[in-house]
Symmetry: C2
Subunit: 262 residues, 2 copies
């Protein structure tokens, strides 16, 4: 039994310039009092031994798979399948037994509610399934998920162009400043002046899934090589005393509330 | 091969009163042009045959498990484990092989980023793993996820009080009007005047996980009995031409942008 540190303690601050005047940048060091039990002991699950076996994958090939899978299972399951279909072939179990297609519901920010984009949601699942949860002593899965969230928010997407795109026109690229589907899709739709139901919007989302799969496999390959270093420097709870993103003023305007105890 | 309908086509409108004057409530009927391939054929995954076997569970017992599991694996994995640990015992596979603890990263709205609360994220995973994805011909998993999102957003949470609470004081209840961790936790912290690191906030989140597990098992039991009827009447894309929540003015104020093509 050792003390379980909560997610809020991980990172170094840097986004204060983006906050309204009401926001406090408090460096609270938090700790969970719940006890740590090794996952495998607690649940007896035979797939709960980490890390899962991994072989380095080609990022571009993975992105192509994600692009095409989007048209079958949408963003979240496309990212999962882009990695797992290859590892099923190269390795077999536990990838063969993982029910990836159940994650179609990640579409549209989870059944259309516009919360987290399915592409980072799927990437986070893959990284944590392969590397394991931080309560099991592995931290790189959690860190890769943090890196994916920040990379997705800060990058002009899509970055990947498929070899055989279904849309021949050049698509605009936009920076979402958020991992939320609503903001990511909304900003792109505004820049492109295209509707949600347009072929261009769909192909943009397929390319975002492909771009995310490319980035995910880049991180996983570095982790496999032993060269992965976490780059995300954002922790909202550490800076603001609440879970959240870095774009406070985008919703709050100048009137960013101060969290109790921050 | 049949046409795959996108998530945007599912529901009936009702939230127009919540929208600012700039929002259009357009009833766009969308369809994806991607082809449908049965999941099992596409991936060969042996767990990708739906529905998975299910036996009715006691909602209160499930909620107690979720409450206690929160202190080990946080919100998302607590909800998953509250159902799957029981089904591992009652049924065995495929629950025994599912790596639930990998989903610790759902904490704090995914590694602390405040996006979807881990409790509905975990519930959505459970419903779709058991019932299967809509591309496989099953729709109740998708519908239960929609119901969970709406129930979570509209309900004064937490609804469940554990038999042996770790905090003896009465905790306030709040309605988030959103499935996002940032809004759910933030509104509760404001009402309770408690910090993110407080014992009260942690126990509130453990009880929200328990409340969500209770509601999820209520839906799953109805589905097993054949009496489940979808109740969610919200589809942002149908009403507004974009994925999203119903609380438009909460972030946009009166200046809700109109989606292209809406």
């Amino acid at each position: 039994m050792k003390e379980l540190k909560s997610v809020e303690t991980c990172n170094v601050s840097r986004r204060k310039m983006l906050l309204g005047t009401g926001a406090l940048a408090a460096g609270v060091a938090l700790s969970q009092v719940g006890g740590l039990i090794k996952s495998a002991e607690a649940t007896g699950g035979k797939t709960e031994k980490w890390p899962w076996p991994y072989k380095k994958l080609d990022p571009a090939k993975t992105a192509e798979i994600a692009y095409n899978e989007w048209y079958r299972v949408f963003c979240g399951a496309a990212v999962i399948n882009s990695v797992f279909t290859q590892l099923r072939e190269k390795i077999g179990e536990p990838y063969a037994s993982f029910p990836s297609d159940a994650f179609v519901f990640l579409e549209g920010g989870q059944v259309g509610w516009g919360t987290i984009c399915g592409s980072p949601a799927g990437a986070n699942i893959v990284a944590n399934l392969i590397i394991g949860p931080r309560i099991d002593g592995a931290h790189a899965g959690h860190q890769i998920a943090q890196d994916i969230m920040q990379w997705y928010s800060e990058t002009e997407l899509p970055t990947f162009t498929p070899t055989k795109p279904r849309i021949s026109a050049t698509l605009p690229t936009t920076t979402s400043n958020s991992p939320l589907c609503h903001l990511s899709v909304g900003k792109w739709m505004k820049a492109a002046d295209k509707s949600l139901k347009s072929k261009e919007r769909k192909d943009r989302c397929a390319r975002v899934a492909a771009s995310t799969a490319y980035q995910l496999v880049t991180y996983l390959n570095e982790w496999k090589e032993g060269s992965y270093e976490a780059t995300s420097d954002f922790s909202c709870s550490k800076e603001n005393g609440i879970t959240g993103q870095f774009n406070c003023t985008e919703c709050h305007g100048d009137d960013v509330p101060e969290a109790p105890g921050a």
